[in-house]
Symmetry: D2
Subunit: 365 residues, 4 copies
């Protein structure tokens, strides 16, 4: 009800604020007996961490994860797994200036209107730092999915107005994405993206982009009729990420411009299995997976924190005011949202795998 949980059987419940003690997540629904160590989680957290390149915030988040519960002798117990990451290198001073002046594009204003008492330091619970918990929970989902042949991976297909020229192959994605700071599958495009991102940054401004996330090896039959459709749950998970303002499945908005004869995927035989020829539907028909690759794309807005002056209202004086932010911002959020989006897709799939009887709810293997 308070919105801190995602998933029904495989479920993550997150807690913590950006400048409080730390960020945590309780992961439920992992069957007993699955091998798990902090290394599995740490490697995903390291992918989300800032200060890895010129295009991400220089805030040094060590983000060391500690497993507080649910694992015994290196294997899961079927009981809730709590993961905890202490906040370090927290600098709250820059936020005193915005205490009564909500930052445009941020949640400061709406939180203040809802709660009255808020942690104004760096966005509190609404900060991007909250995604530490998503990535940590997603790491467990990924591990569970991996044992069942499902792989999730994301890449940036557009940033600062620069789009990738053609759809990359799975091999290109796997080979290139972690090799450039933009997490783009095409190294050339990545360079152009980075240039545009940094050009805006030097002007005190920020940029956005589009991420594509794929799930390969998903069995058919995931998703429930009517409301808990697989694509509906994916859309919710993706739209719940702070900077995301749009979600599409398969060809998405492009389908709105096609004719039925173009948009429908012919049903064909692929060896002994039934498949879809073009997969314009993104692996989901009627809200239920078909067995083809799941394809999701999300629109990421430009980082709301910029160093240009902006207009706001002082909540104490109720007069219009101007603020100019200083601090450690991400020039472009896309590369760091890639592991977050992967996490949300992995959690959604792990949940539906158990709900559809593809993974046993209590016992691993």
């Amino acid at each position: 009800m308070s919105g801190n949980s995602f998933g029904k059987v495989f479920r993550v419940t997150t807690f913590g604020e950006s400048h409080g003690n730390g960020i945590g997540v309780v992961v439920e629904g992992v069957p007993a007996g699955m091998p798990l160590s902090d290394v599995d989680v740490q490697k995903e957290l390291d992918r989300r961490r800032p200060a890895q390149s010129a295009i991400s915030s220089p805030r040094k988040e060590l983000d060391r994860v500690r497993i507080l519960s649910g694992v015994f002798q290196g294997r899961t117990l079927g009981t809730p797994i709590c993961l905890w990451v202490e906040n370090v290198d927290v600098k709250s001073e820059p936020y005193e200036v915005i205490k009564s002046k909500p930052r445009p594009g941020h949640a400061d204003l709406s939180y203040w209107l809802k709660f009255g008492h808020v942690d104004y330091r760096g966005g509190g619970r609404a900060a991007g730092r909250e995604t530490v918990a998503r990535v940590a929970g997603g790491a467990i989902a990924k591990k569970l999915l991996g044992y069942h042949g499902v792989r999730v991976l994301g890449h940036v297909i557009e940033a600062a107005g620069v789009k990738i020229k053609r759809a990359p192959s799975l091999q290109e994605i796997e080979r290139n994405v972690e090799k450039n700071p933009m997490r783009c599958a095409d190294p050339e495009t990545a360079k152009l993206m980075e240039e545009e991102v940094l050009r805006a940054w030097r002007e005190g401004d920020s940029t956005g982009g589009v991420i594509e996330v794929l799930a390969i090896g998903v069995p058919p039959g995931l998703g429930e009729p009517v409301f808990d459709k697989l694509d509906a749950d994916i859309a919710k998970g993706m739209m719940s990420i702070g900077a995301v303002k749009g979600v599409e499945i398969g060809e998405g908005f492009r389908l709105a411009r096609l004719r039925g004869s173009q948009a429908n995927d012919p049903i064909v035989l692929k060896g002994e299995k039934i498949g879809l020829e073009k997969n314009y539907c993104g692996g989901i028909l009627g809200g239920i997976s078909t067995g083809e690759t799941i394809v999701v794309r999300i629109a990421v807005k430009p980082t709301p924190s910029i160093s240009l002056p902006q207009r706001t209202v002082d909540l104490e004086t109720m007069k219009e005011a101007t603020i100019q932010l200083s601090g450690r911002f991400d020039p472009n959020l896309c590369p760091r949202i890639v592991p977050v989006a992967e996490a949300m897709l992995a959690i959604t799939l792990a949940d539906h795998m158990i709900r559809s009887g593809k993974i046993h709810p209590n016992r691993f293997g």
Copy 2:
């Protein structure tokens, strides 16, 4: 868990199949004492009904609603309201031909892979007819919202490749939408849309489009941090509609191409209230409503049923086959999805109004 419910406090639970006895919905969370009669629901069902123009299916669905429970002496009881609509003019014969041949673009294949035993007649539970229940439940949500100053309305902004030229005013939407079969706020564009829709139809094909749904008068503070963000719940509700493949909030995907200084909405005074100058964020910041108009856009794919021949696989023989559908299809689904999308937004808002303490959970007025 089986996905037949939407909303947590204001909650609809739907049941029924396209060619079964009928379609029903149980609506929970309506406070006691609110005036309600079948007329309130009927007028919304009439907007969804087909056979109203050349661009919708000629299936004659009378769709007379009966209130089975929850209302006494013309006012709600605070107990669940069940609405029931019998199926009439059900013609199942055309579906015998597709019994073992899943229709491309439909849920036939994925349902068969999930459940094994399916009602192949007209899509069963996956049919568009399921939306009768959404619209019926949405009618109650709309009525409840209306008493609290919130209004929801949708209109078609693009169909068959024809886009509306400029954003219509609220007055234009209210004046024009119910006057043309495309539910477009601009009468000129509506005519062009209709021409393109019918052109494709004459060629045995179908078209899609884009719908915009607005909510006016929404108080600030709706939505919960992190996962049950207002936009996340809206995205889920919209994406759960059969033909919808994309959702965006405010400027959506267009924001991905802007700079932060353009995308951020300056916070300004509007009289004594705090507001957003441009509302590019679509009335939602950090997942919580700001008090500005909520703006949602959805991509509707072309009607999957077309009369051109299509390739599929015969599930009995496991050989590739061709099917050619005859029957009563909608040339373009957009106009009929408008009330469905309004219903989903209304249900989402009613739910969050109660969850945020804006509407009393037990007593009306």
Copy 3:
């Protein structure tokens, strides 16, 4: 949130008021392909129906069930099954007298305090008639459990102060319970119970009793740690039945008086399987089923409707008043609550069977 649903995966959602159009239930979580007809439900409803003997209300409830959805060609679809029972022989006149005078022992007062607007006719949603929906939903749970070797049966062990002398064997329960109006496994005790029940009745009064419900063939491993313990969910289900004021598992309150060495069940071998020697714990340890018979006992209070004069307050005048009820009351509710309690146990077990991976969530057989 409004409390009309029970179960998480196998879930019933009920609606309807005692003197409204009828009573209904939506049953979710039944896998696709299970044979089901109205006869399966009707036979359980017939067991709950009043007017079957001198000790139950003479209200003639025909209670003919109609399956509104979820079944096709005699087998379930995996989609929600709605069952609907029209109210007939509804006499509302006797209730005009109590319109503003809440009946002691009934929910009239608390509903009025909560909702303001209530259906005062026969208790409305709070009436015993609401259990029609439980029994209908329970019939489907029983059928599903039956296919997996689980059987649920209840019997009255105490009524009007008359207790059964010794624990009956399973055979005695099966042989005798449906043969006497008290649903007692011992025919002699049944006669004594009936005498005492009718003696009170002739004096204008009512009586209560204790019911025991058993589940045989339950596999080990049902129930979740900590809060959704099998016994916790059973307790909730049982306590949610109108007249029930106490629940115990296994030896229950008697265990509070034993020593640990007496109360603990020795763990023994029963052939090749591990079992419990005495099963004082009622088939549940640490909230999880052991594989032994589940044993539950519930306290049923005397029927609150009696014909003796009673003191109340007139809500219109806010003065103390006396009421004397006329109408059709059950002298003792126990026999009619037996199928209701069986239904609640069956629903709880069906839910946990799916949750624990013992029944596939989507496909039957």
Copy 4:
């Protein structure tokens, strides 16, 4: 779904095992702005702690709570509050002997049957130590309730076969309960109880008892019709406590032996308010609170850990075996379960206070 949460709006989600790193709880649904410090929680944890007298386990649990999130500048944020208690003085060696030999009366056997891989050290997640999280969460519920005039308190009314002679007054309970190790409101009875408890203990055995929990100042209108009745939710919460095997509301099982004319509570005027004369129904009618004191009684079984030899089965050899436990056991669990039962009642009431609109979901005061 995994059963680690209780409550729907005011919700606790617990994690941790008896001999792992510690025990934690995430508390959601606390409105923003409520004063809260670790002292509020610590004082309740101190009441639950063992090693406080001869009749509780000598395990030294320091149980220092740390607030990990959700509080800023001494007041709640409306975001999830995570409380964490590290495990100290953990001695796991004694449990090596029971590694493959499930202890009678414990959850060892059923957990092993369900999960396969278990933390056998001291019961793991099934241990009584799990209740640290309940008490911590309950402390916040109590504080919230206190601001709204609701008080929860429990006392032992029977232990080791010794019953309190008459119902104590509220004043007696408040004055005496924390002054004797049995938490009995009558000092004389407390002494007799203690003698009997210790007598059994010297013989290597354990004892049980009955606890009564009261809630004073509860407003009318809490609880939902049909399934989420207030008493149903209370029953679930109480029965979910490890050693509890029975729950009754008001006069409970005793009502089953009364006549309707005796059991029904006359409705009377108490000054200007409507009240119940005897309150045999325990403050709840039709599942909804009446405004009178809530009365709940629970049966606590004898501590399953005893030092007498017991029969079990060795899971490795699948042969019958005998075990004799050494370690630190509670001679009688009742006094330590008092704060746990209070916590469960407080959580249930806080949840229903918000659900019924008596406490604002977002803003305190």
